[in-house]
């Protein structure tokens, strides 16, 4: 019997995977075909969505970019008549077009993503699922678990990089009648979707990781704080939790031991600052998500005043693997102080955007060029943005930098949760700094003056610069404010908010200076600093730009050269995007 699986993460659904799934299911059911249709999570190849895998006794075939039409043909040819359509297959025994994307990856966190049906606990168990917690309960004391995790060198994957074993040890030590474990699934960085993919593709691995953590610190209750914008992840988590309760994996005397544990989901309500652990706890308690001063640390006084350990989704997903394969196996990957792997959401101006998991120690160039296939279109690689609004931009000249917590920190960026946005020469670095600062400024909870007002002032300066109205003292003022915001803010949001500005000032200062002195935007992105005109030789008078212009700044009859009236032009760039003949130019 053939097994058909359709990749249905949020990305798969967005690419039309839902319709493909229904079309296949309908064909199989209506024609009584002996085949099984199931959904899986994202296998990482977002650039090839929708992905359909067909497995028979001999081989596994992966079809890429499947539409409803194509799906019908695949069922007809391949499923019914055993004639695989080779042109559409990207991976089988004989075909492998995506080797470069997959070869350099190591899958620990994503070991089951895109392979198992996330709605099936049996499929998870068939791949060693819930064996780690059983071994743990039967053979290890909590102190031993903490020791194994410590020796593995696992560090928090949410961005901070704090040693997980140490975090658990601190929460294990206090005596208390009640302790909590929390999974931070409030993935808020724009451009980051690692945690969502793990929750959608392999929710049980996170639950199992949390069980092991709860046992280690002595907690009997846990919460998964998930972003409300992730409805599919929440839905699949609910299914997974129900299955665990039904099987007795959650509840009292789990696997015949004395370990009791209950787990529930708390949906966030849209506040970036709730990714900070003290703000997150306030939100779980039903309050405004405002951070508080530490100490006391959550390990001493956390949720409702009880010792609490908060770890990230990816961190938890690593834990069962470490318990099964051992601390040494995990520590064999990576660099001296950064062990294991890291999942990155690769996006931006890159050919193959998607989810990749690489061993620590790989260089940025390897990720961008070997795995990601290089820059999309004709652009020139300019740098990468790592760590979202808390991170920074690393220039292309430092492409040999290794993925390692300490080495990345030295650049002024941070590892972050794993957003890796590739930038090319059409990206203005002042504009990108403005984008992130606008984000943090909006998301600042307002508690600390420097974060609340300082980021606003910095944003105003950046706005001035991109409008060509910068003052000579602006760059110095930016650096001054940045330093004060870092010092004067209570939580990670404010302490890291200036990073995008500081790193771009450090590595791309000339772009700031050009905006300031020459009133020029070298990337041709800042509307106030560019003008649009039509190159007469290239214009065929197709009227596309004229139709695109919302303010009537373009005149010209059909088949005649068009003209842009600079006085009316609002520099929105719509004509530039609309023109198919490269006749509209930016100056």
């Amino acid at each position: 019997m053939k097994k058909i699986s359709v990749g249905l993460g949020t990305c798969g659904f967005s690419a039309g995977g839902g319709q493909v799934f229904n079309a296949i299911k309908e064909l199989i059911d209506n024609n009584n075909i002996d085949a099984e249709v199931k959904e899986t999570g994202c296998n990482g190849m977002c650039y090839k969505e929708t992905l359909v895998e067909i497995k028979d006794e001999q081989d596994t075939y992966l079809y890429a970019k499947v539409s409803v039409d194509k799906a019908g043909k695949i069922v007809n040819e391949h499923v019914l008549n055993d004639r695989p359509i080779h042109d559409w297959i990207i991976k089988s025994k004989d075909i492998s077009t995506e080797d470069s994307f997959l070869k350099k990856q190591t899958r620990i966190v994503l070991r089951n993503c895109g392979i198992i049906d996330p709605n099936s606990i049996d499929e998870y168990m068939a791949r060693d699922g819930y064996s780690a917690i059983q071994t743990t309960l039967n053979h290890h004391s909590p102190v031993e678990v903490i020791d194994i995790i410590s020796r593995s060198g696992l560090r928090g994957r949410g961005g901070g990089g704090f040693l997980t074993g140490l975090k658990w040890k601190l929460a294990h030590e206090p005596k208390s009648d009640k302790k909590y474990i929390i999974c931070n699934a409030d993935e808020g960085d724009p451009g980051a979707f690692m945690d969502r993919s793990v929750l959608e593709g392999d929710p049980h691995s996170v639950i199992e990781g949390m069980m092991i953590a709860a046992y280690a610190i002595g907690a009997d209750e846990g919460f998964i704080y998930a972003r409300a914008e992730y409805p599919l992840a929440i839905k699949r988590l609910r299914v997974a939790l129900r299955q665990c309760v039904e099987r007795g994996f959650l509840g009292n005397n789990i696997f015949g031991s004395k370990f009791n544990f209950t787990l529930s989901i708390k949906e966030g309500a849209g506040a970036f600052v709730c990714g900070e652990e003290t703000a997150l706890m306030a939100s779980v308690e039903g309050k405004r998500g405002v951070p508080r001063l530490r100490p006391p640390f959550p390990a001493q006084s956390g949720l409702w005043g009880k010792p609490t350990s908060i770890n990230n989704v990816e961190t938890f997903a690593n834990v069962p693997w470490i318990m099964i394969n051992g601390a040494d196996a995990f520590a064999s990957y990576g660099t001296e102080n950064s062990k294991g792997t890291k999942v990155f959401a690769l996006a931006g101006k890159i050919k193959k955007s998607g989810l990749v998991e690489v061993p620590m120690g790989m260089t940025i160039n390897e990720i961008v060029f070997d795995i990601g296939g290089g820059i999309k279109g004709n652009g020139i690689f300019k740098g990468v943005q790592m760590g979202g609004p808390s991170g920074g931009c690393i220039p292309a000249s430092m492409g040999d930098l290794r993925i390692d917590y300490n080495e990345i920190n030295k650049t002024g960026a941070i590892m972050g949760s794993g957003g890796l946005i590739v930038l090319d020469d059409s990206t203005c670095m002042v504009d990108i700094a403005k984008f992130f600062l606008n984000f943090t400024q909006l998301e600042s909870c307002g508690k600390c003056t420097f974060c609340r007002i300082g980021t606003k002032r910095m944003l105003e300066i950046l706005e001035r610069l991109t409008e060509g109205k910068g003052k000579l003292t602006d760059l110095v003022l930016l650096e001054d404010l940045a330093g004060k915001i870092k010092q004067g803010s209570l939580c990670g949001l404010g302490q890291t908010a200036p990073n995008p500005v500081l790193t771009t000032l450090k590595y791309f200062r000339h772009e700031y200076e050009e905006h300031l002195h020459q009133k020029r935007c070298p990337a041709h992105q800042c509307p106030s600093l560019i003008t649009f005109s039509i190159i007469p030789e290239n214009c065929k008078g197709c009227c596309l730009c004229l139709k695109a212009c919302a303010v009537g700044a373009i005149t010209g009859s059909k088949k005649e050269v068009h003209i842009i009236d600079e006085k009316k032009c609002i520099k929105c760039g719509k004509c530039f995007d609309a023109c198919r003949l490269n006749a509209v130019q930016k100056n």
Partner: protein, 170 residues
């Protein structure tokens, strides 16, 4: 009378909604959960509901209002028939989300957070829809539209307007 029937219907609805809230109240720290179910039932959080919840959880209405305004998910006003979410994730931003936004604003004549006068569209911005490989992206209700250019956006909006007209003439 039709008016009475409607009134009874509304009372029933409020009753079942209140029961639902009471059940959820059993968990401590449930204020946000309660607000979320209020929004699920009404599409937004009406003022009267703030007072129900205030009574139920013994938290002053002002404090509840503070929680509502802190989180971007909560709305104090009803929404349009179609909700357009424009992705402002980094991948979309570097791939031209700004143009998408300005086209939408021009076409609809509203800014982010507003609803058109005919109640047909509400425009929202979201941090990341998570389909970065399709950037730039918008989501209308539950459908995602990717790889957007000006013409495509106009065509999409037109489709929804036509759909609405077809719906209202039936």
């Amino acid at each position: 009378m039709a008016g009475d029937a409607e009134l009874i219907e509304e009372q029933k609805e409020i009753h079942s909604f209140k029961l639902d809230l009471i059940n959820k109240r059993r968990q401590s720290g449930s204020l946000i959960t309660l607000l979320q179910s209020a929004q699920d039932s009404y599409g937004y959080i009406p003022e009267k509901v703030i007072y129900y919840i205030s009574e139920l959880v013994a938290i002053p209405a002002a404090e509840i209002y503070g929680v509502i305004t802190f989180y971007s998910q909560f709305r104090l006003k009803p929404m349009g028939e179609n909700i357009i979410k424009i992705c402002e994730g980094t991948a979309c931003y570097v791939n031209g989300a700004k143009t998408v936004l300005s086209v939408l604003q021009d076409e609809l004549g509203i800014s982010v957070g507003e609803t058109t006068d005919d109640g047909l569209f509400t425009l929202q911005s979201v941090a990341c829809l998570g389909c970065c490989s399709l950037a730039p992206v918008i989501m209308i209700n539950n459908d995602t539209h990717g790889n957007l250019v000006t013409e495509k956006i106009r065509a999409i909006l037109k489709e929804y307007k036509v759909l609405h007209k077809a719906g209202s003439s039936n």
